[in-house]
C-alpha cells in the first residue's frame, strides 16, 4: 500500500499502482496517471475508460474481448491506445483494480 498525489489529492494505491478505492478517481486524475505511462489521453481513451468503469461497477469481469465488442474500439485499436497490456494499463488509468482471471 502506498499513497500517491493525483491532482493534489492523496490517493491510496497498491504496490502496482492500482487504486484501492475506485470512487477516489476523477477523469482529471486519469490524465496524470496516463502520463506516468507515457500515454496522452484522447476522447477515445476516455470512452474506453468510461466503459471499463461502468462494467466494473456492475460487477462484471473485464476482458479484452468485451472491450473489443463494446463498439468503441476493436481489439487492435485497444492495443494501440494502451500499448503493452491494454486491459491492465487501461484499468490502472481508470482507477479500478487490476483484472484477474479466476482460474
Amino acid at each position: 500500500m502506498a499513497t500517491k498525489i493525483y491532482k493534489g489529492i492523496p490517493v491510496e494505491v497498491n504496490e502496482e499502482g492500482y487504486f484501492v478505492n475506485p470512487s477516489q478517481w476523477t477523469p482529471e486524475m486519469a490524465a496524470e496517471i496516463a502520463r506516468e505511462m507515457n500515454i496522452n489521453l484522447t476522447e477515445k481513451h476516455y470512452q474506453v475508460l468510461d466503459f471499463l468503469r461502468q462494467r466494473f461497477l456492475q460487477g462484471e469481469t473485464l476482458t479484452i474481448r468485451s472491450v473489443g465488442k463494446s463498439g468503441i474500439v476493436d481489439v487492435k485499436e485497444f492495443y494501440q491506445l494502451f500499448p503493452g497490456g491494454p486491459l491492465k494499463n487501461a484499468c490502472r488509468i481508470a482507477g479500478i483494480p487490476k483484472p484477474v482471471s479466476c482460474i
Binding site: 476482458t63 479484452i64 474481448r65 468485451s66 487492435k76 492495443y79 500499448p83 503493452g84 479466476c102 482460474i103
Partner: protein
Amino acid sequence: MKNIVIVGAGTGGTLMANKLARKLNLSEWNIIVIDPSEHHYYQPGFLFLPFQYYNEQQVVSKTKSFLPRKVQYLQTEAERLDGENKKIILKSGEEISYDFCILATGTHPRPDQTPGLTGNLWRKNIFDFYTLEGALALQKFFSTWQGGKLVMAVAEVPIKCPIAPLEFVLLADDFFTRKGIRNKVEILYATPQTGVFTKPVATAMLSNLLKERNILVETEFYIEKIDNEKKSIVSYDGREISFDCFTVVPVNMGSEFIARSGIGDDMNYVPTNKYTLQSEKYPSVFVLGDAANLPASKAGSLIHFAAETLTANLLAVMKGGQPEMKFDGHVNCFLESGKKQATLIDFSYDTEPLPGQYPLPVIGPFQLLKLTRINHWGKLIFKWLYWNFIIRARPIPIPSRFSMKGKKLVK
C-alpha cells in the same frame, strides 16, 4: 404435476437429474432433461488421447445410460428459454413449461472466433484437443511425427479445465522423451495471462516445473490470427511465433442457446449469484457449472461441489423458502505431469491453491502442489469415479466444502 426442466445432460445436468430423482417426490414432480447429444463424454480424458493413454471407447458413453429411468429425456435441441413465461421452446417449436429450470449448458470451444484457425492447416498441423475429433486427429499426427516446434496456446480465458493446456505440454515432454525424440522437439507454451497460472503460490510452483522440463513460456500473448502460409501465430501486439505443430485451446463461449435466450453476457455466460447459484434475472432458474459467470474455474469438480448447494437451495425455494446455502467456490484439479506423477490443487473463491495434504491432514493421501505417484493414481482412478459415482450422484468421501485442513499458509 409440476415440471423441473434441466437443459443440458453433460456432467452437471446428468448429475442433477440423478440427485433430484432421489430427492424429489416423483408423484409430484416431473423431471425433464433436454440435450441433443447421443453421447456423454468423459472430457478430462480427451487430454490423454493424443498421448495414447486412452482410446476412444474409454471416454465415450451413451447419454441415456446415465439418466434415471424415471426422468423424461428429450434428445433434442432447446431453442431458447422464455423466462417471463417460464417455458423452454424446443427447436421443433414445441414448448415445455417449467416451474423450475436448471441451466447446465456448459462452455464450448469456438475455433471460428480466431481468424485463420480453421484454415488450410486445421487438423493437419493445427489441433484442438477439447473435442473428441480433435484429440483423435492429434493422436494420429503424433504417432508419426518426427519432431519440430510444438506450440501450445490458449486463445482466451476463461476456458474449461484451465490447467489442461499445462498438463498438455508436460505430457508432451514425457511422451516425446519416451519416444526418444525429445531433443528434436521444441515445446512452447503461450498464454494471454501474465503467468502460467493466476494465483501466486501455484504459479511459482508450475513455472519452475515447466523450466525443469525445458518448456518455453510466452506470456501476455493474445492471439489475433493464424498465418497459415507462414505457419505462425500472431498476437495483437505484433509478436509472431512460428510452429510445425500448433495445439490450441480455442476461445471458449457459453452455449448459443444462452445467446438466443438473451440471458448471457458477452461470452454467453449466464449472470448468476455466486453464492446461491440462482440466475440474477429469474428466481426460478438456477445455473450449474460452466454455463454460469461465476468467478471460479470452469471444471467438473466445481460442478460436483456446487451441485450440493444448488440442490439445497432449489429444494428450499420449491418449498417457498429462501436459498440459504452459500457456495464457496470450491474446486480441485489433478494436474498430470507425465512420468507417472501428478499434483493436486484445491482452492475456493477466497483461498488460493496452497501446499499441504488432501483431504486429510498428514495422512493425505494426496499431496497438494507437489508431484507424487499417489496423485497420479488419483487422477487415473478419477475416470472410474466419474462414470460410476460422480455423474450418477453417488456419494464419495470428499467434502463439498472447501477446508483449510491439511493446508499450509505460504508467506
